[in-house]
Amino acid sequence: MHPAPSLIAFSLLSGLGFGLLAMLGLGIAAPEGLVGTVFWGLGLGLSGSALLASAFHLGHPERALKAFSQWRSSWLSREAWLASAAMAVFALHAGLITFAGWRIAPLGWLGALLALGTVGATAMIYAQLRTVPRWHHWSTPALFIGHALAGGSLLAGKTVLAGILLIALGAGQLAAWWLGDRLFARSGTSITRATGLGVPDGIRLWEAPHTGQNYLTREMVFVIARKHVAKLRVIAAVFGYAAPAVLLLLPSVDHAIAAVAVLCHIFGAAVSRWLFFAEAEHVVGLYYGRGR
């Protein structure tokens, strides 16, 4: 699939934002005073700007409100509801804490639930697609939520928790890469099943339907060289998970080290999210001579 920068930025930032909000809502991090205000602002700002970015990715952003109508069947619609609900609950919760000094814990828990629900719904938009076998697996929501929790605790300054979560997340990501490489073959969809013709070695695309590109080939038939995949995976694993975990679990972590860990993680996670899209093969590629 085409790794659209807007989608990578949106899913990454909203994950971080909602992860941070969840940490604050659960009371795992409870910064006071001005610092608290800054944290709430950061969480709401990250998730809010990510949602705006995603709306502008649409062909018709002016019709975005219509996307709330189909929550019964559509994960994208559910995501819109959950995100708005989470933002509303957290805005209220943060407002009460900052301006009235009231910390109503259950309100924070509700917000945390909605925030993680939002991240889960985002992931389900991908995981529901049987057409992309690499995504069509429970590991997709698990990893998205894992990124939100690890990234959120990292931003919230919970160094030990973040270190442990990053190690678990890194292990999960390695397993998902290993597994993902096998899911297309396991899905049963192949060129012979796609066309109903021939035997796997005895069929090839002789002539494509068009000489140039089209919407489908640009969106869904994205290919990256395998040798780059291996390198990018190493970069993602080292920067995204291993290095920040090591930094955070150092005996003493000051602000500078924490900042480096945050930057490392965001860079690595962005590479990992880029791979999430770029490596995902859509079954329509079979009609364009990709895979068997």
Binding site: M1, H57, L58, G59, H60, P61, R63, A64, K66, A67, F68, S69, Q70, R72, S73, S74, W75, L76, S77, A80, I125, Q128, L129, R130, T131, V132, S187, G188, T189, R193, A194, T195, G196, L197, G198, V199, D201, G202, I203, R204, L205, W206, E207, A208, P209, H210, G212, Q213, N214, Y215, L216, E219, M220, H282, V283, V284, Y287, Y288
Partner: protein
Amino acid sequence: MTDLPPALQVKLGLVIDLDTCVGCHACVIACKGWNTQGDAGPLADADAYGKAPEGAFLNRVHSFELTPETGPAQIVHFPKSCLHCETAPCVTVCPTGASYKRVEDGIVLVNETDCIGCGLCAWACPYGAREMDPVEKVMKKCTLCVDRIYNETLPEVDRVPACVRTCPAGARHFGDLGDPDSAVSQLVAERGGYDLMPDQETGPVNKYLPPRPRDAEIDILAPFLEPVAEEPRGFMAWLDRTLERI
């Protein structure tokens, strides 16, 4: 709502005969023509006269080469458009309700004034049957020519999808696949019509008829074409020898 309708009685769709399709792309052009001029049009192109022309099409013809273990290779032309699936994944993913499946005949349509152009339905379709209009930024797909098939201002012969009407090889058939007695259903039963990508569990209404096995002996003319003399004679032989010597 983008919930799917319950099991339908009438299932309008196409039956595509891979044995007869000659790969002329006439259906592609007829489809583009009708849908760019019709009610839902235009069906836009980007950079149509430039270096990298590209446009939205609702029907495309792929061609595959089959190499059986024995016998000669064979080319199969493979037209592909929306299969109006019974459990259409493109419909249920749509957040706005723009994508829907009609209860009365099972046609899958996009209500363009509701479409936000998120593209998710195109991701959900395994067959590549949906394309974003590069100018209008809304999703386009085969309508089964819903603006022809019920159109009483057209002569009866034209009340079929444009691709079916135009196909010079008669490789495209239109009808009700929900009625076991219809001509299309009979054709499917007779010729072993099949579904594309059954593993995707989309329940496509459109069916494909397999190419018939080719005759083993295809060299009909060879016996009449005895090889001519390999060695030149007479004047040609002299010329040959002379030229060799120079």
